[in-house]
Amino acid sequence: MNPYKVLGVSETASQEEIRAAYLALVKKYHPDRYADNPLKELANEKLKEINEAYEALSKKGSGTSSRTSYGSYESSAGFGGAYSGPFADEFAKARSYISQNNLQAAKLVLDGIPVRNAEWHYLYGIIYLRQGWYDKAREYLGIAYEQEPGNAEYRNAFTALNNSGNPYGRGPYQNTTGYGGSCSGCDVCTSLICADCCCECLGGDLIRCC
């Protein structure tokens, strides 16, 4: 494996260039972007490869690199759920089928539950999402959110779904040049203040006046 090739940088690239390329790739293959996607495993493998390449290159660089790479982790969207209402056992069963990607079995369980509450609509929405029926998925997740607007899980799912259905919503990664990805004046200031605080913690100082 050629780490330069994996990160898509030239062999003369500086540490900063390598880091920037690395961060862009982490965004591109981030597990959150591939949650609910059958290609999750492949994206994870890719991320692992990128991490290894970055580690190899940062060791080679200063030798005292304290920048650690992102561990390859499972999607942060776990599928536990904290539902406690009627038919809790059945809903738990449906959830476990969904997490095993056994959508047919999950559907059967849900069809057998007579109540049509937020949890029911939410789980059905997730099933539709996994099988690629986005119109239905949005309808059902929308109902779940309406029935229980206070539930963070339902709300997150609905917002995430809507975000990935907008023109520039390729999750965190955006390739169309000209939109987003810019660094505002605010970002610069907060970053500087942050850096100053870090320096002060270690006994140095970046911005004298504060």
Partner: protein, 275 residues
Amino acid sequence: MFGYVAPLKCELKVRELALYNSYYCGLCKTIGRRYGEACKLVLNYDCTFLALLLCGIEGAVPCRQERCFYKPFLKKKPVAASSKMLEFASDINILLAYFKADDDWRDEHKLKGLAIKVILKGALSKAMKNSGDAYDAIRSGIALLSDLERSGCKEPDKPAEAFADMMRKILSLSPVKNDSDRAVLGHMGYHLGRWIYLIDAWDDRTADKKRGSYNPFNVINADKERASFILHFSVNEAVKAYDLLEIKDNKGVLDNIIYMGCSQKTEQLLEGDKG
């Protein structure tokens, strides 16, 4: 139904456009050689994209200077040499065009459909011999789709899935070496297929209303916002799959089509008519 998967030309570099054109001509010549001159008329952008993509994964093919049969007085132009990938794309092009024409003729009695059917009659049996599995996938996919359309299906996800599934099968049959690439291609095909079916439906909805033919957006009275959501979602999923492919060549033009061409087309058609 064809011609939506195309580059955003104003963002292409000159050499990328030349490369795109060389594949377009290459596919045209391959169709001519394999199926006869008359069949060149069904050549489309979507299959050009397929040829570019497959050659991008397996390695680009060399270009030769050749003259166009229909423009004998113009200078010779670069034409991508025929390869297994272009042959596969040419088979798919013929099969899709035939079954689409067949469907048009049976459902709506379009004379154009009948004409294409007649022209492609000989080519069809050759294509069946060359790519038997693709033939089965497309025939059963279009049959399922037209059943759903005839029954006036009220859920746009269902006919879109029939078309998408057909595209998944087609791309999973691609002659690429790596199995995992094939799986990713299948997934990408599924979402591109969804997008192609739905964008075509959106584009045709006013004409369909006038004619009284089935349209998934008309049966649910979908507004622009709802259409925008499913269209963009499908494109974004296809982009995710594309990101997992190891593209060796043709990257500039492929990136253009996938990242810009499709979403730009979506925006343009969503904005385009206010109906």
